[in-house]
């Protein structure tokens, strides 16, 4: 049986005034059912574009080469209407800023129902509402039956991200992509959201791609890690090995740049781009 997600030689190119720019350059990785993969890198390393490419949500100015397959179906070869049927159903995505990612004009319940009904023909509003309440309960939103009618601005940041997760999970997808899901949240809430992602992964068997610039976040959840820089995967390894024995100088530099609590107080280490030259792992 093939892996759940296979990305092969993925290249995303943007047309710019200075000619084409590859923001993702020949990236390959696979993800088994129920597994978890972390993609780390600095801003602009191409990690978000990778996730949008998988979802088929690249902006119109971007073009894509290579192959992305979900459960054997080659997404990059399917027409948009077919990909749309998988999007939100077999694969779902949550984003960095949960406030701007939810539509302020509609109740959270309506937005979850909408995600569910888009992929379940003939479902009544009442059934969809029940699914929405259950999805909200699953992500531990207290008093979900009442909160379902509330609007995004009536929720705190962490609760909004829970709503986003509930929305993504309402269709029980095989793959959940979380693009910087905790970056816009404060630290205590970050930990809660990460715990929640772990928990839903355990309980639903959803495979998870976690995208973050934060190594600590990735180390907590991911089984495998891809380190990206300038659109290239510089190192790919099981998380344990990568953190204990980073092979690529850039990965080492990234790890060194993380301030440690047992360090002497001194200057924070920055990544020197001259020392570390990116290359394919």
């Amino acid at each position: 049986m093939s892996a759940l997600l296979e990305v092969e030689d993925l290249t995303v190119t943007f047309r710019t005034a200075h000619g084409p720019v590859d923001v993702v350059d020949g990236l390959s990785f696979t993800l088994e059912r129920g597994a978890s993969l972390g993609i780390v890198g600095e801003s602009g390393s191409g990690k978000s574009m990778t996730s949008l490419a998988v979802m088929g949500l690249l902006p119109p100015t971007a073009s894509l080469r290579g192959r992305v397959s979900l459960d054997g179906a080659e997404l990059t070869a399917l027409p948009e209407s077919k990909v749309r049927r998988l999007r939100g159903d077999r694969m779902a995505m949550i984003f960095q800023d949960p406030l701007s990612s939810l539509n302020p004009y509609y109740s959270v319940g309506m937005q979850i129902e909408e995600a569910y009904r888009a992929h379940r023909a003939g479902v009544t509003r009442r059934q969809a509402r029940k699914v929405a309440v259950e999805a909200m309960e699953r992500v531990h939103i207290a008093d979900a039956a009442r909160r379902v009618d509330h609007y995004p601005h009536q929720f705190s940041g962490g609760m909004r991200q829970r709503v986003m997760i509930a929305m993504a999970l309402s269709t029980e997808p095989d793959l959940l992509i979380a693009d910087e899901p905790t970056t816009a949240l404060d630290v205590t809430v970050q930990a809660q959201i990460l715990d929640l992602l772990q928990e839903v992964r355990r309980e639903t068997g959803t495979a998870l791609v976690l995208i973050s610039h934060d190594l600590a976040v990735v180390s907590e959840i991911a089984e495998d890690v891809v380190v990206m820089r300038h659109g290239l995967a510089v190192e790919q390894a099981p998380a344990e090995r990568l953190f204990s024995d980073p092979r690529h100088p850039y990965t080492r530099a990234l790890l060194d740049a993380v301030p440690r609590i047992d360090d002497e107080i001194g200057e924070l280490r920055a990544i020197d781009s001259i020392d570390v030259v990116g290359g394919k792992a």
Binding site: A92, Y105, S107, H119, Q154
Partner: protein
């Protein structure tokens, strides 16, 4: 919701009071003496004094202002005895030049202005909003460029120029349309339409251009919103993404603008009515300014302000049904 309404209406009354006060104060300070105007040619200083006393113009500002205010609610009588002039509530003042209460003059002309405003609004909403949406969907295509170019023309060409050009071409040269007159709808619907179509077009063109630009920009901004990306990530059909998630936020600012523009127009389209010789509130205002008929100018100012304020309150109420953040915010 009730509390929201009460607060808004109370605010409206407050603003209206201030508008009346300032308007009255400005006209009290600036306008020529009405007594002199009434007095006519064979005037003597004694006669002027007598008229002043009769009309209460010799009283201090606050007394006159209170008199005007009470006239709004219970009506008022100018002068005494056989020459007394009654002005029933709500008395907006009395034009001694035309010998009519201002409100009566207003009522006679309001229909023309309202017809002009409603017809133009229908046209410009359709052209502006639909054109703006289409231009946004087809961004970068020939349609977008043509519509954006036309809109630029619309905001750049003064409407009196357009009015005169259209009149020359459609009426004088081609003879397709009659020279506009305010024909009542009941008298002859066909003629009514033909007479109003040119003023509608000219008035609508300027507004449509502004609305087209606003709508296009708003739709493009909204399509870039993260929540539109979320809607796409859910796998919603493009039609639904568009209708449910892009359109509503994009058109909310248009509602605000429309409320004020439309209310403002009900108070008279001075230029269009003057150019086309339509006897509406705007023409009345411009005539009164030429003839320095102070009570009429003040009456028009007050009614126009009143309409704009009421229009704003209506927009606020409509907003509460469009945007939940406003609704809940008011309740909290």
């Amino acid at each position: 919701m009730v509390r929201f309404l009460v607060t808004r209406l109370a605010g409206m009354v407050g603003v209206l009071f201030l508008v009346v006060l300032f308007t009255y104060a400005i006209f009290f300070a600036l306008s020529p003496d009405p007594a002199v105007q009434i007095c006519g040619k064979n005037c003597t200083p004694e006669l002027i004094d007598q008229i002043r006393t009769n009309l209460g113009l010799d009283r201090p500002f606050y007394e006159q202002f209170l008199g005007f205010l009470s006239g709004l609610f219970v009506g008022t009588t100018y002068g005494t005895g056989a020459n007394a002039i009654d002005c029933a509530a709500p008395c907006l003042g009395y034009s001694f030049q035309t010998g009519q209460p201002v409100l009566e003059m207003f009522e006679q002309r309001f229909g023309v202005s309202a017809t002009l405003a409603v017809g133009a609004a229908v046209l410009w909403l359709f052209m502006g909003v639909a054109g703006g949406m289409l231009a946004a969907i087809k961004k970068g295509t020939w349609f977008d460029r043509a519509a954006t170019g036309a809109a630029l023309g619309g905001v750049s060409i003064p409407n009196y120029v357009l009015a005169l050009v259209l009149q020359y071409v459609l009426v004088v040269k081609l003879g397709w349309l009659p020279f506009p007159q305010a024909v009542p709808f009941g008298a002859d619907p066909g003629q009514w339409f033909l007479n109003f179509v040119m003023p509608w077009l000219v008035l609508a063109f300027t507004y449509a251009s502004m609305y087209q630009r606003l709508t296009r920009a708003n739709v493009l901004d909204t399509l870039d919103e993260n929540f539109v990306r979320t809607a796409r990530a859910k796998g919603l059909a493009p039609r639904l993404v568009w209708r449910r998630h892009a359109l509503r936020p994009a058109l909310t600012p248009v509602v605000t603008l429309f409320g004020m523009d439309f209310a403002g127009l009900l108070g008279g389209a001075i230029i269009i009515e003057t150019v086309f010789g339509l006897n509406g509130v705007g023409k009345m205002a411009s005539d009164s300014i030429t003839k320095n008929d102070q009570p009429v100018i003040m009456g028009v100012t007050l009614v126009a302000a009143f309409l704009v304020i009421v229009g704003n309150v209506i927009v606020d109420i409509v907003y509460t049904t469009i945007d939940p953040r406003v609704r809940i915010g008011a309740r909290a």
